[in-house]
């Protein structure tokens, strides 16, 4: 029993750490430019297909990852911002959200048409070690370590570098940031590119587990929104806490609860948090203006 608990915990943390990456990107966008991206889940699937495609041409996974990174930065970062966010945001944040729902349809169906409806296997890491009667698989450990390293790097970048602080400042007070001479437009663009990098890394980590399927984005997206909200919508640290918590709870629910309602767990948590603690676990209650 104990061994099962540890295994479920570790794989839950691994999945949760990936959620954290995706949720962190989601939070960055919403904080930096009021972009609530309903296509965030599909943003993860697209680079996975790019890596697979590169792989099918004989390139190693790492090379595919680099290509995916470039493609994502360009398409999901720069083009997404320039062609969709910039022109639609002035009409309203809700209009933009609805546009990202349309984008989700575009991405999913493009991937369906190009790649097909089947779930493609994605190379992962096999094996693991027995520690007493607990089996720890390398895959989960690698995922966990990589995701934690990435989030730590992100946090250090945001908090310890001048560029990171300027990005935070642009999100917390764009007017004031402009008065201090910060190029807010550029900071926002960097935020989009950062998000693209995060989802590409998430694609690399999550695909061995969930495989690559054109509509995986729906579930991944739902988990990422939930993680972001549970942790505190507007904070990278919140996304980490929310992601890990969600991954573990979901994994336990799937193992010990009714399997067919596994997907309901993040949804229930989401509803409970929005209604009773909308600022999330780490967020501060925002002052309400009349």
């Amino acid at each position: 029993m104990m061994s099962l608990l540890v295994q479920v915990l570790i794989s839950g943390l691994a999945i949760g750490a990936i959620y954290a990456l995706i949720a962190a990107g989601f939070s960055l966008l919403s904080q930096g430019s009021q972009t609530v991206n309903f296509a965030q889940g599909d943003f993860v699937v697209l680079p996975a297909f790019v890596i697979l495609a590169a792989n099918s041409y004989g390139l190693p996974i790492w090379a595919g990852f680099v290509i995916a990174l470039v493609v994502a930065a360009l398409v999901l970062g720069v083009l997404f911002k320039r062609l969709m966010v910039d022109p639609i945001l002035p009409h309203g944040a809700m209009q933009l959200s609805i546009a990202t729902m349309a984008l989700s349809i575009v991405l999913q169906n493009s991937m369906l048409n190009v790649g097909g409806a089947q779930a493609f296997p994605f190379p992962g890491i096999n094996g693991g070690i027995h520690w007493g009667n607990v089996f720890i698989d390398w895959q989960s450990v690698t995922i966990l370590l990589t995701a934690v390293a990435a989030v730590t790097a992100l946090n250090l970048f945001m908090g310890r570098t001048r560029l990171g602080r300027a990005i935070q400042a642009s999100a917390q007070g764009p007017q004031v940031a402009r008065l201090l001479g910060i190029n807010v437009t550029r900071m926002v663009l960097i935020t989009f590119v950062l998000n693209a990098a995060l989802v590409t890394l998430a694609a690399l980590l999550i695909s061995p587990i969930y495989l690559v399927k054109f509509d995986n984005g729906i579930g991944i997206g739902l988990a990422a929104f939930s993680a972001a909200i549970i942790g505190g919508f507007n904070q990278v640290r919140g996304a980490v806490v929310g992601g890990l918590l969600l991954g573990v709870v979901q994994n336990f629910a799937a193992t010990f609860g009714p399997t067919q309602y596994r997907d309901a767990v993040p949804m229930l948590l989401l509803i409970i948090f929005i209604l009773f603690r909308p600022q999330g676990l780490l967020g501060r209650a925002e002052e309400r203006r009349v």
């Binding site: 944040a93 209009q95 933009l96 546009a99 349309a102 349809i105 169906n109 067919q260 929005i274 909308p278």
Partner: protein, 316 residues
């Protein structure tokens, strides 16, 4: 709402054209027009909630599902179609009231997420509670109510229902309730200072919108004569939301046009095969970039080239 009678006349004319066209058409086009009528009813409901009262809902597909299952499950037990339709609408109305409660606490994106979560849970219930819904196998051989058994007759039932819904919605929106819904969308704080019961109208906006989703579902089940849970999952909610936005959120004719595009586009783009959804999505994005008030806004701007300027104050 500058010309209240004109929009009503246009809407009813569209319905009439659909009905008359049915005479000369093959079963498939008749099926498409029926589908248009069914989607339009659902989109009218969502337009009431989203476009007029300003409350986003991603759960409209769930109410279509409730209406559809109520009809599919009750009709074999000898309950007449008219009654199953009312039951589906009533259950949706009540659940719609419950859906409205989160809207009293949160707005905007948070509300979108809550309704999205509830819609996901509703889909899981449809899928998992096989004892009731027959799970992923779905329910087939749903009979059409007498005397609307032929394709053409069923088309008229759908269009007739749409005509009634159109009239009812038109009346509602012209009444003080419609004005209160708009007030809710534009400025709830000011509205409540004028005595508008924001709580009550918010719940009503959700409930009436949901009830229309239920009506649409009741018509949906016998149309294809087969239903399964996946039809009422998130993609339908997204799709209905896009119909409202494409047509023109908050305009009376918006749902009619939006549903028309959603139904006709796959047919028009038949030669592009599976790419039609990609094209549809791109079109929606382009529309949001260039005409945030949808096709109705686009048409209005084309018809009325110059906006009416406010006359200056009279000379003293």
């Amino acid at each position: 709402m500058n010309h209240p009678y004109r929009v009503l006349a246009i809407a009813l004319l569209l319905v009439l054209v659909g009905g008359v066209a049915g005479f000369g058409l093959k079963p498939y086009p008749i099926y498409l027009i029926s589908q248009w009528a069914v989607y339009t009813i659902s989109a009218i409901g969502l337009n009431l909630t989203l476009g007029y009262a300003g409350q986003i809902s991603l759960a409209q597909a769930s109410f279509v599902g409730i209406g559809a299952y109520a009809t599919a499950l009750l009709m074999p037990h000898g309950v007449p179609f008219g009654v199953t339709l009312v039951i589906g609408a009533a259950i949706s109305f009540i659940l719609g009231v419950l859906l409205g409660f989160p809207a009293l606490r949160v707005q905007g994106h948070y509300l979108a997420f809550v309704t999205l979560a509830l819609a996901t849970i509703a889909f899981l219930v449809f899928r998992n509670e096989s004892w009731l819904t027959n799970g992923t196998s779905g329910i087939d051989k749903i009979v059409r109510p007498f005397p609307f058994t032929s394709d053409l007759a069923y088309l008229w039932l759908c269009l007739g229902s749409l005509a009634i819904v159109t009239l009812g919605t038109w009346w509602l929106l012209r009444s003080p309730w419609g004005r209160a819904f708009l007030a809710l969308r534009e400025n709830p704080v000011r509205a409540s200072s004028l005595g508008v019961d924001v709580r009550m109208y918010t719940l009503l906006a959700f409930a009436i919108g949901a009830a229309l989703g239920g009506v649409s579902g009741a018509l949906f089940a016998p149309l294809g004569q087969y239903i399964e849970p996946a039809e009422f999952a998130l993609p339908l909610s997204f799709s209905l939301l896009l119909m409202v936005v494409v047509g023109g959120s908050g305009s009376f004719l918006g749902p009619f046009l939006g549903a028309m595009v959603a139904v006709a586009l796959p047919e028009v783009l038949r030669s592009f095969q599976d790419y039609y959804l990609v094209i549809y999505g791109v079109m929606v994005i382009l529309l949001l970039v260039f005409s945030p008030d949808g096709l109705v806004g686009l048409i209005e701007r084309a018809v009325r080239r110059r906006p009416v300027a406010a006359p200056a104050e009279p000379a003293k």
